[in-house]
């Protein structure tokens, strides 16, 4: 028995479920090149018309924020409640605002 040799690169798969919507991450596939990655993504993730467009991106090309820096990155936004319309009180009787 031969074991597996030579890892095929990993690709992240994004699908647009229909026009008008963003592509969304759905999972990953292994493939030797971009063309095969699209073909594999089609077979694995769109067997029931889940997509009208596929993006594949080499997983190694994705730069992710560090979950350890979640606080530094995202907490500053939490205390700026005045960025939300609900922060403001509009007197009764004022319409269309």
């Amino acid at each position: 028995m031969k074991t597996t040799s030579g890892q095929w690169p990993l690709w992240e798969v994004f699908l647009r479920s229909r026009n008008g919507l963003h592509h969304q991450h759905v999972g990953s596939v292994h493939a030797v090149d971009a063309e095969m990655a699209v073909a594999n993504a089609r077979d694995v993730y769109t067997r029931r018309g889940e997509g009208v467009s596929i993006w594949v991106v080499p997983s190694a090309a994705i730069v992710a924020s560090d979950p350890g820096e979640k606080g530094e990155l995202f907490e500053p936004a939490l205390d700026k409640v005045y960025r939300h319309p609900t922060f403001y009180e509009i007197p009764d009787g004022v319409a269309n605002i």
């Binding site: 028995m1 031969k2 074991t3 597996t4 990953s28 090149d33 067997r47 029931r48 979950p67």
Partner: protein
């Protein structure tokens, strides 16, 4: 996924980190690929997700056995699509396991080497066409019971893979039940074939839920970590409760002399599966263990030249682009 780098920190028994983790999970917060997590949580998930993936892959064989002998073109197309889905399930799950920092190759090698476990049910033979009905109805039915709670698993990538899988399983169960309906309304010989399939698949299906809660080793931690939501016995009971009325509808007899409906509890009381058989199958002594692995190895080896050719082609294309 984009999380190949293993979190070095979780080798350290960092109690503060572990405590924070337990709190987050208890509060039903999801854990994502690059988040810090206890090494034991990572290990448990890799084991469970990869065993699950292997089960989907090996699970193609019992039904693959009947694709060329399906009784009509309609049935053949359906069975082919079902087996193809199982391949897809395996791939979703391997992808989810890879987010935990293990490579696909490692996992596949474990399966081929015979060191990884997969569901005991796939080590039983498929002797007649009725087995395609019984498998869809009972085996996929039991799988659905097990899998629906996993859609709420604390580990995000696993939960999302399970949601995708659960959407597809309902077709699997219905096509199986449809086969059972057709056979049970058919000739005497067809009815007998359906009954025989139920007789052979009933107990192995109940065993799919695993040993009794009292014997189940990893259960408590998995519950606390929200990987598991219901105990083995709870899920088995649920399965019996929904499946027995379906057997009644088919006019088939569940092969359990102790089976009766208990008015007081509103549940069925049922007999004890043969746990020595269950353990033997897990040890590799089931009727088809050797055959299943041998087939998987052969398929893997037969595909080697395709993998090598694809790689050589890609390397050549790349070299030409550079030149």
């Amino acid at each position: 996924m984009y999380s190949q780098a293993l979190d070095e920190r979780d080798g350290v028994a960092d109690e503060a980190v572990n405590a924070a983790f337990e709190q987050r999970v208890a509060a039903e917060e999801k854990v994502e690929a690059n988040d810090r997590m206890p090494a034991a949580y990572r290990k448990t998930l890799i084991r469970q997700i990869s065993q699950h993936a292997h089960s989907e892959i090996i699970g193609m064989q019992p039904e693959g056995n009947w694709i060329t002998r399906a009784p009509s073109l309609r049935r053949k197309a359906i069975l082919l699509a079902k087996v193809q889905d199982e391949a897809g399930h395996g791939l979703y799950l391997y992808a989810a396991a890879e987010t935990l920092g293990v490579s696909r190759e490692e996992l596949v090698d474990q399966l081929l080497a015979g060191t990884a476990k997969y569901s005991s049910i796939f080590n039983y033979p498929t002797l007649t066409w009725a087995d395609m009905g019984a498998i869809g109805w009972l085996v996929d039915g039991a799988a659905i019971m097990n899998q629906i709670p996993l859609c709420r698993c604390s580990y995000g990538p696993y939960a999302r893979a399970m949601m995708r899988i659960c959407k597809e399983e309902s077709f699997h169960q219905r096509q199986g039940f449809e086969i059972m309906v057709t056979l049970s309304r058919g000739t005497e010989a067809q009815r007998a074939m359906a009954q025989d399939a139920l007789n052979r698949w009933w107990w192995p299906s109940l065993m799919m839920f695993g040993p009794h809660d009292s014997e189940s080793t990893h259960s408590d931690t998995s519950m606390r970590w929200k990987i598991k939501r219901f105990s083995n016995d709870e899920l088995r009971q649920k399965f019996v409760d929904v499946t027995v009325p379906q057997a009644d509808f088919l006019g088939l007899a569940v092969p359990d002399p102790d089976l009766r409906y208990d008015d007081a509890t509103g549940h069925y009381v049922f007999g004890e599966p043969d746990w020595s058989e269950f353990k033997a199958v897990l040890r590799g002594e089931g009727p088809c263990n050797a055959q299943r692995l041998a087939h998987r190895r052969r398929a893997h080896d037969d595909g080697a030249w395709v993998r090598e050719a694809a790689q050589a082609h890609a390397a050549k294309q790349q070299a030409e682009q550079v030149a």
